[in-house]
């Protein structure tokens, strides 16, 4: 009996000990979360404050840079849209991104299906090879590709990016799609084929609709890759009307030594926030796509 009592007392003590540790741990987790959020978003917070400041407030080194010493203004944001080529850059980025996504899906979906489902002996090595293409950096290829672009007659045209960007997006998106496909049970197509669909019919009518969430994730991913690319866009295109956001903003909104700081920062925030929001939403899906692609199914 006594032994039971001591174990109970000991258990109670342990419980209290762990409860205290648990509370401390909670405080630690929240402190760490706030800290990392601040480090991650700090430069953007600073950008947002800057974007809404009057010149006289901004360009006074004695002013507290974190608060509005004078009233906030939207003039610089308006200038970004009305006085600069920013809307053109955004439009170019959007349609280049849309076309790149379309090309990526048209090429990547069948390739992923072939590698994930059609059971060829070369599927494994081929998948890995395709992924390694993603690791060949634009910095290694931009010189020779700029000659290729000239040969195609696409220099100084946004279309050059439509042609070249799929070389980045197809490999990595195929890899992602393989992961999503391995997440779908094989029985689904087999059942469809038993029901009379051909292999192609089963792929188009049964697999693709089920793969829709994965396709959405890949669309987001490919679009972001295309929107973020810098070197090709810088090397292939110089007229400002053909530029995209990633090169247009840093090269065109800076005239010589004159920086339109507020407008520059406004453009960063306007571009950064929507992309990060969408990514946050799809993060879980990307993670499962990448890991499923790596694990042999």
């Amino acid at each position: 009996m006594a032994a039971v009592a001591t174990t109970e007392a000991r258990a109670e003590e342990l419980r209290r000990h762990y409860a205290r540790r648990h509370r401390l741990g909670r405080v630690g987790v929240y402190a760490a979360a706030v800290l990392i959020a601040f480090i991650g978003a700090g430069p953007f917070v600073w950008s947002t404050i800057t974007a809404l400041k009057l010149n006289s407030d901004l360009y006074n080194p004695d002013n507290n840079p974190f608060i509005f010493n004078e009233p906030a203004t939207f003039d610089h944001v308006r200038f970004l849209f009305e006085g600069t080529a920013f809307p053109t850059f955004v439009w170019n980025t959007l349609w280049v991104g849309a076309l790149v996504v379309a090309i990526t899906l048209v090429f990547g979906l069948p390739a992923a299906y072939s590698l994930a489902r059609l059971d060829r002996p070369w599927a494994g090595p081929m998948g890995i090879a395709l992924f390694f293409v993603y690791l060949v950096p634009p910095t290694l290829l931009f010189l020779s590709l700029s000659r290729v672009v000239v040969a195609l007659g696409l220099q100084d045209s946004t279309w050059s990016l439509v042609v070249i960007y799929p070389t980045i997006t197809i490999p990595v998106c195929t890899w992602l799609l393989i992961g999503f496909l391995k997440g779908l049970p094989k029985d689904i197509e087999e059942q469809a084929m038993v029901d009379g669909y051909s292999r192609v019919g089963a792929f188009i009518r049964v697999v693709l609709p089920l793969l829709f969430p994965g396709v959405v994730a890949v669309t987001v991913f490919a679009f972001t890759l295309a929107a973020s690319e810098f070197i090709y866009a810088l090397a292939f295109i110089s007229p400002s009307a053909e530029k995209v956001v990633s090169t247009g903003v840093p090269t065109e909104l800076i005239r010589g030594d004159v920086f339109f700081w507020q407008s520059l920062q406004a453009s960063n925030v306007i571009i950064a926030v929507p992309i990060a929001l969408i990514f946050t939403f799809f993060l879980g899906r990307f993670v499962s796509g990448f890991t499923m692609g790596a694990v042999k199914g």
Binding site: P138, L143, L145
Partner: protein, 313 residues
């Protein structure tokens, strides 16, 4: 294959003629038909330019005279004779190694925080992803302003605290400029590393962690003796991704410092751009860019190795 013929026997030619049906069902042929377009695209616009890039390095191609003539090692000689090339090589290695180490450590820390349960996780995740999802060139512009020579808020805080009297000139001094470039790389790539490591952490079965806990292993022992060894392959992948994206990037240097002050932050990628595109000496630019390749190859082999180990697990 056996399954398909069985299906055919059960439902003879319900769609199209027998010939069409056979084509749409021949897995071996379809596997090729489905894959070939992607392979052709990638070979044409990655494989060919890659070979071309190597060819250019042994040629005399310039922007003004694009005709290809064999020039042996002349382009390499021109590159090597320029001390800036060696400086760029050194800078590239220093920036890559330091960034990679910091990316892995902070990536692991961030992954550990993100896997914990807390309120408002969604917002924190969004704010943490910002550095990674924003186009590099744009987020670097934010840093350019953050590190401005006169109006940097960091300087303002340091002045208020009384640590400095004048300004730091973050981007104007060689050491600080290099540190700034590293800071931007680490800041933008830590979320990616964290996401990769997170994928590994999620895959660890809960019982292993619980078993270690029951056996009396504390937080640090669990971390160093259970979770880190188990997720080592993915930590390696995160490290290599960090290295590759730092090593091959020129946007940060191009926007932040333009390689300055006096080329102290010039890296191979930006130097190849300066020579090859801005200077028009395509051959020399290609020769410089080729130096990116050996390290990339090594990284690719190591990633393959790590992924293999993960599959064995």
């Amino acid at each position: 294959m056996g399954q398909v013929t069985a299906a055919e026997r059960l439902t003879p030619a319900t769609t199209g003629g027998p010939g069409k049906r056979r084509l749409a069902d021949r897995d071996g042929l379809l596997a090729w038909l489905f894959l070939v377009p992607s392979v052709v695209y990638v070979v044409a616009l990655v494989g060919v330019p890659f070979v071309l890039a190597i060819g250019f390095a042994f040629s005399d191609v310039t922007a003004g005279d694009p005709s290809f003539d064999w020039a042996g090692l002349n382009a390499f000689r021109r590159a090597f004779d320029d001390p800036i090339f060696w400086q760029s090589l050194r800078n590239t290695l220093v920036i890559t190694v330091v960034s990679m180490a910091l990316i892995v450590v902070f990536g692991k820390v961030l992954a550990n925080i993100l896997i914990a349960d807390f309120r408002g996780k969604w917002v924190v995740r969004f704010l943490v992803l910002l550095p990674w999802t924003t186009p590099v060139a744009l987020s670097t512009v934010s840093w350019l302003w953050l590190l401005d020579s006169i109006f940097s808020p960091i300087d303002w805080v340091l002045r208020q605290v009384g640590l400095i009297d004048a300004n730091m000139y973050w981007l104007g001094r060689p050491g600080l400029a290099t540190a700034s470039v590293i800071a931007v790389h680490v800041w933008r790539l830590v979320p990616l590393a964290a996401v990769i490591i997170l994928a590994g952490l999620i895959a660890i079965p809960k019982d292993i962690e619980d078993a270690a806990r029951v056996d009396g292993a504390g937080f640090w022992r669990r971390m160093f003796e259970v979770t880190i060894p188990l997720t080592l392959p993915l930590i390696a992948v995160a490290a290599l991704f960090g290295a590759i994206f730092t090593f091959t990037d020129m946007a940060v240097v191009y926007v932040l410092t333009r390689g300055g002050p006096t080329n102290s932050t010039q890296v191979l990628a930006s130097w190849a751009f300066v020579r090859g595109i801005e200077g028009g000496d395509v051959a020399q630019g290609a020769a410089i860019a080729i130096f990116l390749f050996p390290l990339l190859l090594a990284a690719a082999v190591l990633i393959l190795h790590a992924v293999r180990r993960m599959q064995v697990m």
